[in-house]
């Protein structure tokens, strides 16, 4: 699995950090998403999928085949 994010879409809701704190973080200055694990380990993949699903700005993309 490979994750990409679109920073310009991020609204800073922080849902991804609540769901998958090992994979996502937020910049301190403006709350915009920071991708910690572009290729998350197996035990983080379910949480990453969930984060992409709940992101209210559709800013997280999951590429399963990568």
């Amino acid at each position: 699995m490979k994750i990409t994010i679109e920073e310009e879409k991020c609204c800073g809701a922080g849902q991804c950090v609540l769901v998958a704190p090992e994979v996502f973080d937020q910049r301190d200055e403006d709350g915009i998403v920071v991708l910690l694990e572009p290729v998350p380990p197996a035990d983080q993949q379910a949480a990453a999928r969930e984060a992409a699903q709940v992101c209210p700005a559709a800013a997280i993309h999951i590429h399963e085949e990568a």
Partner: protein
């Protein structure tokens, strides 16, 4: 595994409404491992797209249509859904479990999810049917308005809520003259409260918006079927060829009339929409999620309907799990955001004009601050924290307080997911630390004793948590902070 509303696990899940809530249902049932048939019916053409950018980046011309897709075509393909775009549902027979479609066809279901959203209200008195007078709800609406703005001339915005205020800001950014009219005294005042709404009004005025608050629109003037101006209730006439009517939305439930699905009545139920139980179940095998759905809220004993983007996705997820008999995920606090000019506004939890509020970080004068909202104490300040609003310009330091991540472990080792919402030194400080909060975090007493259930003056901070504890609980956290959780029960302040 038994699902309420479904005696047997469904074989065919039908979702009517192909926006944020509907897509979330589809994704969740697949995520849960459902391999049966899934049909997604939507009245708009094309793949599911996102609506918040319609009054922001799309209207401004910064983004084109393809950037609004909720999922890339190949990702959507992976969901293996029978997609019926451009096909409105026109009726429902809960006896035979059949949805009627506008093209004359029908589709049968084992589990149905109603996710038809809401439609923008456009009353005849506000120029419904006239060219140049429009609402903003769909991609087609947004592209039409963008075209009108590009042609020049004044934009009159009727209604200074989310959609109206965002569109006004975008139009000013394009150099379009804007008049914004609202019968309420300030823009977005019902959600922001007076003080914050006053700040927002100042930003619009400073940006050159001709803001007319406390006045309504009597009628839209027309010439040959085309809008040419608006008459305000104070008698003023504003000439314009472009009128954006942004006076709210109503749940799209017309197709459900006579179906037996219970629909809310504003007088009787206090809310419109599909009346559901606390998990989104509306009738046997019928669920509802998103703007169309009014879920029962056990805390207040009433049905509640929201119109925010995160709530739609979360309800969709919860229904997707529940209809398969799986445990739905815990809901987050209500959340919304709005972008106007260089301002980013974010809100968590319950806020509103009828609540007490206090700025706890930054200042209104700077236009960068965090304010908490809660039940009003005897001193006029909030004595609970039920919600938080943060406004920041780009690069604002105070926004970080909204996002500071805190890892908290309870005494039994369970992790509590939360994030620091605001420091409240200003509320508690100087007021003897009397302010109480529903869910809070405060400094541990120096001797390591559990904190008293009130905030210390210096280091109090609030957490809005993903779940609420039924009973007050004292928990440990870092060396100098402790967490306690308790239900939001207002109590009188002791003098």
């Amino acid at each position: 595994m038994t699902a309420p509303g479904n005696a047997a696990p469904p074989r065919h899940v039908v979702v009517v409404g192909a926006s944020a809530a509907g897509l979330a249902v589809v994704e969740e049932v697949r995520r849960q491992g459902f391999t049966g048939e899934v049909t997604l019916v939507g009245d708009e053409p094309g793949l599911p797209y996102d609506r918040p950018p319609l009054s922001k980046q799309l209207l401004a011309g910064e983004w084109e249509t393809d950037r609004l897709l909720l999922r890339a075509p190949e990702r959507f393909e992976e969901l293996e859904v029978t997609h019926r775009p451009g096909t409105a549902a026109t009726g429902l027979d809960t006896g035979t479990r059949t949805v009627r479609l506008a093209d004359g066809g029908t589709v049968g279901y084992d589990a149905l999810v109603i996710a038809t959203g809401a439609g923008a209200v456009h009353p005849p008195s506000l120029g419904a049917g006239l060219r140049g007078a429009q609402v903003l709800r769909s991609l087609a609406d947004a592209l039409q308005l963008r075209g009108s703005l590009a042609r020049g001339g004044r934009l009159v915005v009727v209604g200074a809520g989310f959609v109206g205020a965002e569109a006004a800001a975008v139009a000013r950014g394009m150099g379009v003259p804007v008049t914004m009219v609202d019968p309420l005294p300030l823009p977005m005042v019902n959600v922001l409260g007076d003080e914050v709404a006053r700040l927002l009004a100042g930003r619009h005025t400073a940006a050159g918006v001709d803001l007319r608050c406390g006045v309504g629109v009597e009628e839209v003037l027309a010439d040959g079927g085309r809008a040419r101006g608006v008459v305000l209730t104070d008698g003023t006439v504003v000439e314009t060829g472009t009128v954006l009517v942004a006076v709210g939305a109503r749940p799209a439930v017309r197709w459900l009339e006579g179906s037996g699905v219970r629909l809310g009545d504003r007088g009787r139920d206090g809310v419109e929409g599909v009346l559901c139980d606390p998990r989104g179940l509306a009738a046997d095998g019928v669920w509802a999620a998103g703007d169309v759905a009014a879920w029962f809220d056990p805390a207040t004993g009433r049905h509640r309907r929201g119109e925010h983007r995160l709530g739609a996705a979360e309800q969709g997820r919860a229904v997707g799990a529940a209809l398969l008999g799986a445990e739905p995920p815990a809901p987050s606090p209500p959340y919304f955001w709005s972008d106007q000019y260089d301002l980013k506004l974010q809100s968590y939890g319950a806020t509103g004009r009828d609540m007490a509020s206090a700025v706890v970080e930054g200042s209104l004068a700077e236009g960068r601050f965090i304010a908490v909202y809660g039940h009003r104490g005897a001193d006029g300040l909030p004595r609970t924290v039920d919600g938080v609003i943060g406004i920041s310009a780009q690069g604002c330091g105070c926004r970080s307080a909204l996002h500071k991540k805190t890892t908290i472990r309870s005494a039994n080792g369970a992790r509590i997911e939360g994030r620091v919402m605001a420091h409240c030194a200003d509320i508690a400080g100087g007021r003897g630390g009397q302010t109480r909060a529903g869910n809070g975090m405060c400094r541990r007493a120096p001797n390591g004793a559990p904190p008293r259930k009130q905030f210390s003056a210096r280091t109090s901070a609030f957490l809005l948590l993903r779940r609420r504890e039924p009973e007050p609980t004292v928990m440990t956290a870092t060396a100098d902070h402790a967490i306690y959780l308790e239900p939001f029960v207002p109590e009188p302040l002791t003098p």
